[in-house]
Symmetry: C2
Subunit: 161 residues, 2 copies
DNA sequence: TCAAATCTTTACTTTTTTTTCAAGATTGGT
DNA sequence: ACCAATCTTGAAAAAAAAGTAAAGATTTGA
């Protein structure tokens, strides 16, 4: 259960644009250099982000990428969904709709876990916007901290019952 | 952000043992057949689970695998940690200790997100035991549902501020 | 109009992960 | 003692993911 390279670097590249003042833009070589990845790799990531409507690309001299909408309105959950290709579970087709292929069919003990994890992660990410990542790092920490504390309390309660 | 094949199938194989009455055991071919994977693949997964102390292996005729401790005392967080090799983050070495290699060093905007996600997932998984997965599926659902509801409430509150 | 700078797209290569194979080691039964 | 059933282990093959390369398309400005 870990973030993929595509998710991590895609998010990082997007964050570079969010850091800029106003609606400024960066070229592919600039983004690549700031993230320490190749231009080709950055190109592929930015292409995905462009296709999904998070960034605006301009070709030609003076071209580059800029955010397509304000950083305050870009939730991490949306970004991750696009970079992740939004698949959950690996081989159990029960979740993705093709029920027949899965040996576990209806009575699959770990299905609620896989689905549940995916949901709480998405929900947590939907609480965080790009703009929080650039300036308000403390708020990001606070959000996760509160969730963690609630989870721990939940565990203690179920222990008492 | 998805569960790996090793995590998913390792957990599934372990669950097969947890489903058995008492301290009964299963052989590798039996586990493989029940999970629809090859015997070789099941062998590797069970070897990992054995090394980590979750199952007990007996060789020779009448051999097989059984749980090394009661299903009530095996938390999903522990199992996943072993199957996952417990790594978080992909390329940013800031998290794993080798600080020098990472271009982002201290001022890394998405670090709190990666670390935070890992922590809330681990915390959620630590609330769930193997025994809950075999019988008490409703409780598993309930746990995740409560977390999700709290996260949503959190979001609404931060909206009001 | 042309050249330089830039993004776009497809195909290819490399690396990592997953799966399989094969030989070894241990146990139980005869 | 021997054989059959079983787990163990390391290496190899296959598949998937990540990263690279190259040719194409668009824009700006001289």
């Amino acid at each position: 259960m870990k973030i993929s390279a595509q998710e991590e670097y895609g998010l990082r590249c997007l964050l570079q644009l969010a850091c800029l003042p106003g609606t400024a833009s960066l070229t592919l070589p600039q983004i690549a250099e700031r993230e320490g990845i190749s231009v080709a790799n950055a190109g592929k990531l930015m292409w995905l982000l462009n296709k999904a409507g998070f960034v605006q690309a301009t070709r030609g001299t003076k071209g580059g990428y800029s955010l397509a909408r304000p950083a305050e309105h870009i939730r991490l959950s949306e970004v991750i969904k696009v970079l992740d290709e939004d698949e959950i579970g690996n081989h159990c087709e029960s979740y993705t709709g093709v029920l027949e292929k899965c040996i576990h069919k209806g009575d699959c003990g770990i299905r609620p876990v896989i689905v549940g994890l995916h949901e709480i992660v998405q929900e947590a990410l939907s609480q965080i916007t790009l703009s929080q990542l650039v300036g308000d790092e403390a708020q990001v920490d606070a959000t996760f901290h509160q969730i963690k504390r609630f989870e721990r309390k939940l565990g203690q309660e179920s222990l008492r019952n």
